[in-house]
Amino acid sequence: MSATAVATRELLLVEAVNDALHVELARDDSVMVMGEDVGRLGGVFRATSGLRDAFGPDRCVDTPLSEAGILGAAVGLCMAGWRPVVEMQYDAFSYPCLDQLINHVGRYRWRTGGAMAFPLVVRMPYGGGVRAPELHDDSPETYYVHTPGVKVAVPSTPADAKGLLAAAIRDPDPVVVLEPKLIYRTARGAVPEGEHVVPLGKAQVTREGTDVSLIAYGAMVPLAERAAAALEGEASCEVLDLRSLKPLDEESLLASVAKTGRAIVVQEAPRVAGFAAEVAAVLAEKAIFDLRGPVLRVTGYDVPYPYWQIEDAYMPSVERVVDAAQRLLAA
């Protein structure tokens, strides 16, 4: 603790998102929230609860069911001087907005020779394991990371959920924030009150270790921590929470692997060309002489996200991470 201790509150992850929005809308009157059911209902997960009452229906806007239209309108709102924070109701509901995201959101600043900024945020609950119907479970981060001009953050703790969202709102560029819905109401922690910013592009070691680096983001961070605990006595695991996928904190990534010599990347998304492959490629290019074994991936599979009665077979598990670590240590 520093001498000037910041007052904190114990919040759930989704409450921290809500707290960030209240603070940022109060701080900057050009920030507005828009999306499906965000106003009267406060969002299907209540992430936007209370905003309409506090800031009015013009700054917390219930939109038509129109993901591409919402994001397209947000582009125009930026041109009119607003900083829109767009909610996509669920991960897979965001796919119609990819047209706008790829064709315009990531390109428009460049198209104006840098003269015009598009400081919008797209936030959405993502990921599986919540016993939900089809298309409420996807991990679409790769589509966003792969889009030039767009940044991507994925918090795993309440404090980071608040701080990364605040950073995204203040950033001059479009930022997609993927919120792990699996731990919306199970991750609880101390969250600084008032303004709280966690800079984009800074990973965090959440558990120190010397034998294996478990590299994860979002809901896979607590899973990696449980795997590290399960491996205690057998191996000393370091857990690195990437927090931002773009910009990627390569320095922290390389430092961790330089220390441990072994890397396992955990993601929920399907394996092929997923973000774990990018991490593995960075390690192959820049850390090959530090590595004492292959970079392993524990991921979802290249199948449609399964119906919920069989979703546990799809999701990375503590057992699968432990198995990967044991194989790597035996190599």
Binding site: D58, G69, G81, H104
Partner: protein
């Protein structure tokens, strides 16, 4: 040959035929406005015709021709105030010239040179939208956002008949209507989307009928009649400014030029119909109108054309004199606060391509 709409008789028109159909007039337009509209028409026409030549000379790249859509463009822009925002598609690539955007900038855009970048806020002209209809929600958002800020700004979005089949058109029009965005949706129905005729694009009897489904008025106008377009768009702008929301204007034209310099319409279009449509030249129609009013004669028309030609000569020279763009422009401007990886990539590129 594909079936397309016959020449329409029930479209709003102002300009007569100098014979059996009498000329009308538009309230509020003085003689100098009528001449100013002509200058806009000629500037756009000259830009288009010279661009086709420049393409053949290898001086610009592939170019999307807008020949005989000048009345639709110039008439609508004249109904706006300078604070109002224009969202062009690639078919209106040079519409910014009517707002003082240098022709050299637009030529640079077609030359694939970064000197073709401009700041939309300098002219209230958005970047040229290449994908179809995806700028319709941008225009809705800008118009809505300006209204939320208490500014009286109106936006206009230009798109073709094919764009009305796109989801982005639907979503943009719907959101604009729901939030009562001060917006004019200007559909240039030139009846062809490359080789796809209107009959293969929609089963609607008229594109303007789509407006009712969004809860906004639809106006149908002869897109070759610069004064009729002006009047129709002015009506939409007035509604928008009065807080009554968006208006859909269908300007019926005909694409009597290839889609672009890379297109071969002989594969799909009836040459007789094209020849007939070329006879209905919107610039010539307006010249005849002004001549009947004694506002134009050959000498004055020639002077306006010469002025536009001089503008284009200077513009192509300026565009060709742009120094080659450096590789740093590949990396700069994509982000306000770029990821550190881009700096390393540029260093690497410079090392290899020193």
């Amino acid at each position: 040959m594909a079936q397309v709409l016959p020449a329409e008789r029930d479209l709003r028109r102002v300009i007569g035929d100098g014979d059996t159909v009498p000329d009308g007039e538009v309230d509020g337009l003085a003689d100098h406005d009528l001449v100013e509209l002509y200058r806009g028409l000629v500037l756009l026409r000259t830009y288009d015709e010279r661009s086709v030549v420049y393409h053949r000379q290898g001086r610009i790249g592939t170019y999307a021709i807008y020949w005989n859509h000048e009345a639709m463009q110039a008439g609508s822009v004249y109904a706006l105030s300078d604070d109002d925002w224009i969202f062009p598609s690639y078919r209106e690539s040079a519409i910014g010239l009517l707002r003082g955007l240098p022709a050299s900038t637009v030529l640079s855009w077609w030359r694939g040179h970064p000197a073709g970048w401009w700041n939309p806020a300098d002219y209230n002209v958005a970047s040229i939208c290449v994908p179809i209809a995806t700028h319709v929600p941008h225009a809705a958002g800008l118009a809505w956002g300006k209204r939320l800020r208490g500014e009286p700004t109106v936006a206009i979005a230009y798109f073709g008949d094919g764009a009305t089949s796109e989801g982005a058109f639907h979503e943009g029009a719907n959101i604009a209507a729901v939030v009562r965005a001060p917006l004019v949706l200007l559909c240039n129905n030139n009846q062809w989307a490359i080789s796809t005729p209107l009959s293969a694009q929609t089963a609607a009897a008229r594109l303007s009928d789509k407006a009712v489904g969004y809860g906004m008025p639809g106006i149908r106008v002869d897109g070759h009649d610069v004064l009729a377009v002006y009047e129709a768009v002015r009506e939409g702008v007035e509604r928008a400014r009065a807080g009554e929301g968006p208006t859909f204007v269908e300007a019926v034209t005909y694409r009597s030029a290839p889609h672009a310099t890379a297109d071969d319409p002989s594969l799909y279009i009836d040459p007789d119909r094209v020849a007939a449509e070329q006879e209905r030249d919107c610039v010539a129609v307006y010249e005849a109108y002004l001549t009947r009013l004694d506002l134009l004669d050959d000498q004055r028309a020639q002077a306006v054309r010469e002025e536009a030609l001089a503008t284009m000569r200077e513009a192509i020279t300026a565009a060709e004199e742009e120094p080659p763009a450096g590789p740093e422009l590949v990396f700069s401007h994509a982000y306000g606060d770029p990821p550190p990886s881009l700096e390393r990539d540029l260093e690497d590129l410079r090392r290899v391509h020193a």
